[in-house]
Symmetry: C2
Subunit: 192 residues, 2 copies
Amino acid sequence: MELLEQRIQKDGLVKAGNVLKVDSFLNHQIDISLLNEIGKEFKRLFADTKINKILTIEASGIAIAAIVAQYFDVPVVFAKKTQSINLDGSVYTTKIQSFTHQRVYDVIVSKKYLSPDDHILVVDDFLANGCAVEGLIDIIQSSGATLEGVGIIIEKGFQDGGKRLREKGIRVESLAIVDAMDAATGQITFRH
Amino acid sequence: MELLEQRIQKDGLVKAGNVLKVDSFLNHQIDISLLNEIGKEFKRLFADTKINKILTIEASGIAIAAIVAQYFDVPVVFAKKTQSINLDGSVYTTKIQSFTHQRVYDVIVSKKYLSPDDHILVVDDFLANGCAVEGLIDIIQSSGATLEGVGIIIEKGFQDGGKRLREKGIRVESLAIVDAMDAATGQITFRH
């Protein structure tokens, strides 16, 4: 997606340790106009599917899911990272390793909001090692719902998450795939 | 807001300890159509202000802020509850007591995304004791930005957060104010 790649080139910051910071427009401050363009693009890419619900994980995924959901005219469910006393005990649960935060999260979705009738689009901001998406897929499988596909804004193509998901036959649409980044020069190379 | 009160009556669950669960449409599964109506209503209520940024706090606030922001045509900034290694050290910080999760959070906003030029609308799902909103106001004051107002979806009118904010001269617009709830009967009484 040309507009997105231009924005990453302009405002993304490459840091040591293969960190790509996009918190000026995607996951701390959020450019809602850009998310609307992203929503239109996911709708175009998944036009042939019968998605009735969008699943993401807190926190960065939520804004994306909310805006994207408007183009599919469906509700959003977001997986929660810790057990809240406001949630019933009746939840699907999985564990997700976060490399950003260097810890393992318990992730839950209430059983009320995923069922075998559901056709799910998973969306998230980043796909790197794939742990977050695999956790969400684990929850979808527990619920008996159908995974229609995975929509990612930025895939780190030099990590193996996307490859592993596609090898399992999962449809992954990434709007920008970064094949290489150089923290010294700030250069970002996209896959085309 | 009539539509919202009807939805709370229909799908809200009153639990012991003054807990109002709205996770079927607001803070776990999210009805995006309802949020669009909420966005229109906040725009109507704050039409006389010159808001250029919406501030909220993860996680439930993010979907609300993202949809509402479309009606103001402004970006969103969400405060983060824990220090991420992906964030610079240059942050505004405050502490917020969460009664839901029975702990104190360190909350941060990068100094890059709030400045004295900003005119801020704070939005959140609930206002009860007011700790979350007061934490966000503390961050706004540290940045020198101007707080234009606070937009809340559900205010628990029997707790003192809204009263305390209004007594300080802060403009608080709550789309539904619950004056009483009865866990035994499920009855919810709104202020009109």
